[in-house]
Amino acid sequence: MNFKPTYSEVELVALLQEQSEQAFSYLYDNYSGALFGIINQIIPDKEIASDILQEVFVNIWRKISTYDAAKGRLFTWMLNVARNAAIDKLRSKGYQDSMKNISMPEDVTAISPSVKMQADDYGLRRMINKLKDEQKIVVELSYFQGFTHEEISKSLNIPLGTVKTRIRSALTLLRTMIQA
């Protein structure tokens, strides 16, 4: 049986901020799969997602000093680093040119295929699939594709206030689903 050290989150953050390779190795072993999962939900291509995961871990190593425990847990921070990196890639011109089909949809129906439930859906995406379509779309566009409320409002041709309300109601529903 292999002995692997376990760290409390405070210890782990302190060690990472001291640039401990051992702590970083522990972080990778414990969280790379989860982060690869979230990246994959945004970028299905495994090779590109793998490049993004590398970039994400290098950024975590570089930018650990900017992590502020008062604003959230380490995992939440890492999850957002991963999500932002994946969205940056998704919205980059190079990626859009190679994918063609992923661009700002002109109407609601165009979004549907990407929102459609997939067999390998999991985590947050599996949860939002239980939401109503109109909620699903706004969460998909904002969370998984990184569009601003203004962009969604313009794209879906619905008022900005409605976008905000729908997102909020979707998230509230998500919360009750989780707690159930």
Binding site: F36, G72, T76, I178
Partner: protein
């Protein structure tokens, strides 16, 4: 503000998922500080999200971990290569400053010692010039003066190497002694020069023992003597005697 309503508004999820606006974020962070239940709601949702994410694990390629470590180590190397540069500069400056100081100190020392040496040489040169001038004067006096007569005094049998010369000016009656070779006397003894006239010694003075140390004069001026047939040097007690009591060292006829 109704805190419970705030928690249930969806702001917690919006904040944690990174969907809140900058304004909403700031407000939420303040609410977390002021209301522990808001903070607790945030942590609860974070834990749920983490649990969900952990259920959605997708194994990354096996080689990726090594690639990441290679990248951060390469980066660490770049950092360590950059770091020594200012350090090196500081060292360089330190060493340069130290070298300058050593050079300056050395230069000052060298200057001082050169100045000292130069002063010493200057004094020696001046002394030598003066000595040479005196000797030239003495030499001229004895060589170019037709009135000069010479008495070569040779060593007695027990001091065969001893030799001295007296130059006597027949006109001025001045007598000059040239010590060619005489043993250095003991400090309680002095050489005394005598003129011999009809077998009678006439005192011409004692030779200062300093002469044997400094030898700064070619000729030693002796007392005048109106007449002389021969000259002799005896070794007397310090200060000399009215009549010779010590042994004779050299003697020569005029």
């Amino acid at each position: 503000m109704n805190v419970q309503a705030y928690i249930l508004s969806g702001i917690v999820e919006s904040y944690v998922l990174g969907l809140a606006s900058a304004e909403e974020k700031m407000e939420f962070e303040n609410m977390c500080i002021q209301h522990p239940e808001v903070l607790q709601a945030r942590i609860n949702f974070e834990l749920v999200l983490e649990k969900q994410a952990m259920e959605g694990i997708v194994a990354p390629p096996a080689a990726l971990k090594q690639a990441i470590f290679s990248e951060i180590r390469a980066e660490a190397k770049v950092v360590t290569m950059q770091e020594p540069v200012p350090v090196k500069n500081i060292n360089w400056l330190k060493y340069a400053a130290a070298a300058c100081f050593i050079l300056l100190a050395g230069s000052i020392y060298w200057n001082v010692s050169l100045t000292n040496k130069n002063n010493r040489l200057q004094r020696e040169y001046e002394g030598t010039v003066a000595k040479l001038a005196d000797m030239e004067k003495d030499l001229k006096m004895i060589s170019q003066n037709p009135a000069i007569k010479m008495a070569a005094m040779k060593g007695m049998p027990d001091v065969p190497g001893a030799f001295a010369t007296v130059y006597w000016d027949t006109t001025s009656k001045d007598a000059y002694l040239l010590i060619n070779n005489l043993p250095v006397p003991a400090s309680d003894k002095q050489y005394q020069l005598w003129a011999l006239l009809d077998g009678r010694p006439i005192d011409l003075g004692v030779i200062a023992n300093e002469y044997f140390i400094r030898q700064d004069r070619l000729l030693l001026k002796a007392k005048n003597t109106q007449n002389a047939q021969a000259f002799a040097i005896t070794l007397e007690k310090k200060g000399g005697n009215p009549t010779p009591e010590g042994k004779m060292v050299v003697k020569g006829d005029l």
